[in-house]
Symmetry: C2
Subunit: 522 residues, 2 copies
């Protein structure tokens, strides 16, 4: 493509941003609009401005993060840390170890694992040496790790960033760089026991994070494949029809059917038969009913899947989580490597998160609107074998918590609430009431640090008492240890409680103990 | 380059690996050789094998991580978590907030920040869109973050991976992907107060990690530049001579001098004058002495640097850390962006870490051999201004803890010690003494999980009691809750203490409390 053509495309996409911005401006007084949405639009416009030459037509440097990525400021990090702690506690409660793998893999390690999504993989530039790609998920590196180290059973979690050159939609928590929190059980075990534990984990995490009501949809790849077979889909179209079915959470059935018929070449009758099945939702009863279904009975693998769904539900009853689990024949999940049970956790409380246009159009007529998937996973018994030189299989099942959308929701909650998020854990500020006490302040804070107290001191020779106190108010530091000539003479420190403005003298020897007492978390 | 040429180069580098491997084999009975070294050599040979065609000449898939990277297994992760906790506690004790930035930046964000090291930056492939590079350190992204968000003061830490296409030396903890733990103070403050706090932090962390004895070398870019000026180095050679001086910790003075004279074109006399200065080490006294030095007095900026070193040492005395800090005129540090104080933490206890050949050759005649830098940093007052459209400066000083070498040392320590590293925190295993108790086991573990107890259950219908107990022994699980027909009839559980093999019945209602009592960390 010539430079001019390139410029046109860029300018046009830029105009798209302008149009969006105009829409945003007209929405200015609508209460649904968020600061994050505005930021995103501003970023688009600034990018456009930079492309067309900046303020003065010079080729100006653009001060931004890469498209689809973002920084986390201290407030966001404080929220993120809380979410991670909840998730990690749950993984540890279930006895998981943790591993880490590099952010990039040999390109060939990722090849042939993601089907149509492979086009979204980031490659590294060939600078001489190996061809590398950024990891697309944590599952394929996990399988590579198992095969490479000949590990046949492990229960592990892995929390790390993954990379997808997808169309970002940052206000909805869709980024090109995002965290995944994965928990997987590898090993030859009795059917559905590890699978049920994964669902128990999703249930625990989504409950503890207090994101509002949720559902966990369950299906099985064997049921999908069997259903396609008995409906008359040709074998070589299973995968592509599967990814069309996967769009049902974002598109109306009519559009999904259109894609099956017009793009993928199914007959209307076949599509309609699929349509009948994928509208079914239920529990163990639905699995039992389908095990009586004359058409389903023609497929051995569908029956195997349905029996396992029954068994799964019996374990889920023991785990006390059936209240949220739905057997849903429309659940497909895009990835190629699943071989059995698949599942997805979705938040159902409308209004908690921004609802996308697509989701609104395609929403089922039920009482709750799906606001998107926040967890997903399934069984992949063949993936490790793809890496083993002798093809030895290690059965695996796992779940991935999609943390970015959860962050978005909790961030909005925090913004909406009046409660201030503390970004440090400082217990006490060492301050002075008069000039020329830097040396004394540094001596005192050294005592505190050496005793393990979290303490701050202003990096100025002669800071004003007021500005020291203001800093405490702003950042939520609960105590101030104030030094003055008189206190030094008396061998004491004036301790001030920021919240109550109460002040009292305390001997230097008792200071550490007093700070600990007053800031212990119990 | 044609394909044949390419192959020759590859094969030759492969032969290098073969030679190394032969050397390793001949060293087989030497006690100094480690498992990690052997693994590294094996990896090199396997890479060579893959390059020349695999077992049977077919183009076989190579099961490995990218060159210079590694996985962390659960044991390594347990050690890593401990190190991170020590470091993060210290950063939090000093009142730092934390931020996160994306793993890649716009290529131009990194351009012109790293001098000669820029060639080591990983670029992403141009797949349409922005040109991106993996971050090389956390300092430049931090400066970009400050400028972009117009932040003029912050104390923040950031722990994340960075990427350098360097020659890996994995046994010495030099990787292409590695963690940095950075602490920085940005803002306009009084001279040397934040700088001294950074050194206090290095002192605290290196002490707490118990890595053996260490030194913190301190110098100042202004002293180096002033010294170059008064010795007669032309202005435009300051930077390149600086990076030659930086090699003094790995090369003998004779070789450094040779590089200055032969490669960089200094006269012998100029080099010798530099040689005299860079052999000087001391404390506040040395700074005072140099402030009387007739030649140094000719340089205003050297004097400014020397006065600041004096001031710094006075604060370090108050912080009680002068025992480990040395003013060392040979310390240069390679990066372009430093403008004032620079420092480096080095371990001095020989034999703790593998000593490189270069380090042995170039070691000073002193009583301790440097085993390498584990922390480094300095003042960079101009970097944020490079990103600000109006060039507004934000003075910054910071320190980066080089965690990989620290891991290597602690890993070797753990390997050498008999103590087992636990990789999970499981408190109790739910086991059964007879068959057909899966349902009962799942009911019981649900009770425990719901009460927040960390518990495991075997994913088998009828596991043998022995194999359940063995699993506890192997993974250090302290308690087993055993169910049998009799216990179920009596409404009790048999609790077994793995270490003592003691067993006793306990009522179901008291179980959670008893497990908590016996596994509380206090």
């Amino acid at each position: 493509m010539d430079m001019l053509g390139m410029f046109c495309i860029r300018a046009c996409s830029g105009l798209g941003a302008l149009r969006t911005a105009t829409r945003v401006r007209s929405l200015h007084s609508v209460p649904g609009i968020t600061v994050a949405q505005i930021d995103e639009e501003v970023a688009k416009l600034l990018e456009l401005k930079a492309q067309i030459g900046g303020d003065d037509g010079k080729n100006q440097f653009v001060l931004k993060t890469a498209k689809g990525t973002r920084d986390y400021n201290p407030r966001q990090m404080a929220i993120r840390e809380k979410v991670f702690n909840t998730i990690i506690s749950c993984f540890k409660r279930h006895g998981a170890e943790t591993i880490d793998t590099p952010v990039f893999e040999l390109k060939e390690t990722l090849t042939g694992k993601y089907g149509e999504d492979s086009k979204l993989i980031y490659d590294l530039k060939d600078q001489g040496g190996e061809l590398l790609s950024l990891r697309y998920d944590l599952t394929v590196p996990f399988a590579r790790y198992l095969a490479m180290n000949k590990i046949t059973n492990i229960k592990r979690y892995h929390i790390a960033k993954v990379y997808r050159r997808d169309n970002p939609a940052m206000t909805r928590g869709r980024y090109r760089e995002f965290y995944q929190c994965d928990f997987d059980i590898a090993g030859q075990y009795d059917a559905m026991i590890p699978d049920a534990e994964c669902l128990k984990i999703v249930h625990e995490i989504l409950s503890e994070l207090e994101l509002g009501d949720f559902r966990i949809k369950v299906n099985d790849r064997r049921i999908l494949d069997g259903m396609f077979a008995v409906c008359g889909v040709p074998d070589d179209k299973f995968r592509t029809i599967c990814s069309t079915v996967d769009k049902l959470d974002k598109m109306a059935w009519e559009d999904v059917k259109m894609e099956m018929v017009k793009e993928k070449g199914l007959s209307e009758e076949v599509a309609d038969q699929i349509g009948e099945y994928v509208s079914m939702q239920g529990g163990m009863d639905l699995a039992e009913r389908l095990l009586q279904d004359q058409k389903m009975l023609q497929s051995k693998q569908a029956c195997a899947g349905l029996s396992d769904i029954k068994l799964l539900f019996s374990y889920l009853q023991l785990f006390q989580v059936t209240d949220k689990v739905v057997f849903d024949l429309s659940l497909a999940r895009g990835l190629d490597y699943y071989t059995g049970i698949i599942y997805e956790g979705v938040l159902t409380q409308a209004g908690v998160a921004p609802v996308s246009n697509e989701a609104q159009n395609g929403a089922p007529a039920g009482e709750s609107v799906s606001v998107g998937s926040v967890a997903g996973g399934g069984r992949y018994d063949g993936l490790v074998g793809m890496f083993d030189p002798k093809g030895r299989k290690v059965p695996c099942v796992g779940v991935s918590i999609g943390i970015e959308r959860i962050f978005s929701i909790l961030e909005q909650k925090a913004e909406a609430s009046a409660q201030k998020v503390r970004t440090t854990e400082v217990q006490v500020m060492v301050a002075s009431a008069q000039k020329n006490l830097l040396e004394q302040r540094l001596r005192l804070i050294t005592e505190l640090w050496n005793a393990g107290i979290k303490a701050e001191v202003m990096h100025k020779k002669n800071p004003k008492l007021l500005s020291q106190l203001q800093h405490c108010e702003e950042s939520g530091i609960p105590l101030v240890a104030i030094l003055g000539e008189q206190e030094l003479k008396d061998g004491v420190v004036k301790l001030r409680v920021v919240a109550t403005r109460e002040e009292f003298d305390i001997s230097r020897a008792d200071l550490v103990g007093e700070i600990r007492r007053r800031t212990s978390e119990a």
